[in-house]
Amino acid sequence: MPADSVSMGKHRSDDAPIDGTGDGTGEPRTDQSVGARAGLSDVAHEPGAAKPDPILVADDIVRQFGGLTAVDVGHLEVQRGVITALIGPNGAGKTTLFNVLTGFDSPDSGKWSFNGKSLAKMPAYKVSRMGMVRTFQLTKVLAKLTVIENMRVGATGQKGERIWSAMIRPLWSRQEGSNTTRADALLARFKLDAKREDFAGSLSGGQRKLLEMARALMADPELVMLDEPMAGVNPALKQSLLGHVKSLREDGRTVLFVEHDMDMVRDISDWVIVMAQGQVIAEGPPDAVMGDQRVIDAYLGAHHDSELTLEQEEEILVAAEAELAARRGDHDVGGADGHDRRTGSTAIGSAEHHDARDDRP
């Protein structure tokens, strides 16, 4: 990656665990994650663990939809300058938590702060202006604007966006010029420069993900929140997206992302937070978390490590059916001991026993 003209040395606080690369020296560090993880080495591997330098702190966040508690997070801290992954089964409340934290949804109770400033009741656009910019699970590109116009929208503090100065071009043309330069540098970095004048609506799914990420960077965020950046992206593009996410950390930004792709989580994250049924159930470095029995039980299933062959799937199915038949015979065995190690096909087991754990919307 070439020297990055848009990198943001200034965002790093003085006591942050990383030292400057975004300062224009042009030497990207080869193993940023070692430095980033060092700050987390003393952090306990438990839900709600305190971090040495948290950028985002959340307390007692509850969000209910009718009778359903989608999110119930007691305490959560996100370390500055590292890549934190938020994982969990479908319906664990990850995206809802994202929406709450970024002001797109309001919780029933709870408080949370960014850089020590409370974000409660703050509208989404103000959250974004504070330096916490998100992307969306279903990409939201501005289809009938060109790629470069999409990028320009991302820039903050534009004089020409005020109605009174908008009509007089000399008031904003210089700023527009520097924004365009910045946008072009980002497009080149994300390899979208060839698409500069195309409508964003004509891009492929993966290119849209790239554009959305690049556009978020135009706002120069301190914390980048990516909601499933890999969803619907082909394997070839996946590798370059991984590189881009890592490069955000090299810029000195903090990344929090939701992802289902375990390879990606293992590959790039410095810290993993696991949610299930709206609660944080485990935290830790990727290897530790993925070895955690609670996580395996709640989320990954017994065979998370290997691709299942057809024969194995068949075996699991037979075993599960046999187990179900056995349970039907013995009515005492039921939801009382909810987290007995399920055999493989958890969906069948849970549906049969009305255990809603994996079926939350």
Binding site: T102, F104, P123, A124, Y125, K126, S128, R129, V133, R134, T135, F136, K140, V141, L142, A143, K144, L145, E149, R152, V153, G154, T156, Q158, K159, G160, E161, R162, I163, A166, M167, I168, R169, W172, E176, F199, G201, S202, E212, R215, A216, M218, A219
Partner: protein, 332 residues
């Protein structure tokens, strides 16, 4: 069949005061719908507020004409705020419902007996355009001999009206090429994305509603001055839909779309009207009375116009000035 007569009358209408009114109303809708994606179905309401502000200020209160213009513009700002505050935070369809209802409420209120002293009830108000006409430098009919001709008052309305159209188009052009206009277009595409980039979407939508509403007020001024009288029937709901038609013919989100749309719309309306009138009149009409009588002729033009609009939407859905490439994106 007098073809020259038909063309003369049609051109007269296409450039005449009515076209000016619909053009201004459509410019307002272009800001609302074309650029911001706001579904305002109550443009007639904004026009009514503008028109009645002039008429009522002069006739009912005896105040100067220019004060009426100022009141009209202020009143549309108030109306935009009243409509926008509760609805702009909600989904787009809520604004559509509220605006169409609000326009009807305004129309019925203006015609109500209780407010006759101020708005003249169903018969409306007259005698408010003397000041406006006194400014006119034009004394006799204007036109090209044998081709087109307008009465002095009509021509004065046209001069002022098309000047306003020019100014409005210039304002729209300047605004829409700026970053401000880019935010508006982005809101049309996806407002959550814009919100996530730190823009106050609500405030931009409100600004758009106010500006488009003020263009609507200008259309209301011209409606009142065109006929030197005003009554609630001038501002029925179909006015809004004709204004939308004008916008779609010209092409939404194009600066000159409403201008071309208004001229084409009024040319067609007038041409079809005269054509069917001539084709059914006289001793040996072109269209025999068994097929169409002269009473039916005045209505058939709307049927043909509707058909033409359908064909336009099928074969050139982007309108006259629209960009086909943009439309291809919708199909994805």
């Amino acid at each position: 069949m007098d073809w020259q007569d038909m063309f003369s009358l049609s051109v007269q209408e296409a450039l005449g005061p009515s076209a000016v009114v619909y053009c201004l109303a459509a410019i307002g809708l272009n800001v609302h719908f074309g650029y911001t994606g706001l579904l305002n179905f109550g443009q007639a309401g904004f026009m009514a507020v503008g028109g009645y502000a002039i008429a009522s200020t002069v006739t009912s209160f005896g105040l100067p004409f220019l004060l009426g213009v100022v009141f009209g513009l202020l009143a549309t700002v108030v109306l935009a705020l009243l409509l926008g505050v509760p609805t702009l935070r909600l989904r787009a369809d809520y604004l559509a419902i509220v605006t169409i209802a609000a326009a009807e409420i305004i129309r019925l209120m203006l015609g109500s007996i209780a407010l006759t002293d101020y708005f003249g009830g169903q018969s409306g108000l007259q005698d408010f355009s003397d000041t406006f006409r006194s400014w006119s430098p034009i004394s006799g009919p204007v036109g090209i001999l044998g081709l087109v001709s307008w009465r002095a008052n009509d021509f004065w309305v046209m001069v002022v009206g098309w000047t306003l159209v020019l100014i409005c188009c210039l304002i729209v052009f300047l605004l829409m090429r700026s970053p401000w206009g880019r935010v508006l277009k982005s809101i049309r595409e996806d407002e959550d994305a814009v919100r996530s980039l730190g823009k106050n979407v609500y405030s931009y939508k409100m600004q758009s509603l106010i500006i488009g509403g003020m263009f609507g007020a200008l259309a209301g001024f011209m409606t009142a001055l065109e006929s030197a009288a005003i009554n609630p029937a001038f501002f029925a709901t179909d006015i809004t839909f004709f204004a939308y038609t004008v916008l779609l013919i010209g092409g939404a989100a194009r600066v000159l779309g409403p201008v071309a749309g208004a001229i084409i719309f009024w040319f067609l309306i007038s041409f079809l009207g005269v054509f069917f009138a001539q084709a059914t009149e006289g001793a040996a009409p072109l269209i025999p009375p068994e097929i169409m009588t002269s009473q039916q002729a005045s209505l058939i033009r709307f049927i043909v116009l509707g058909l033409a609009l359908m064909l336009l939407m099928i074969f050139r859905p982007q309108g006259i000035f629209g960009d086909r490439r943009e439309l291809a994106i919708d199909a994805r």
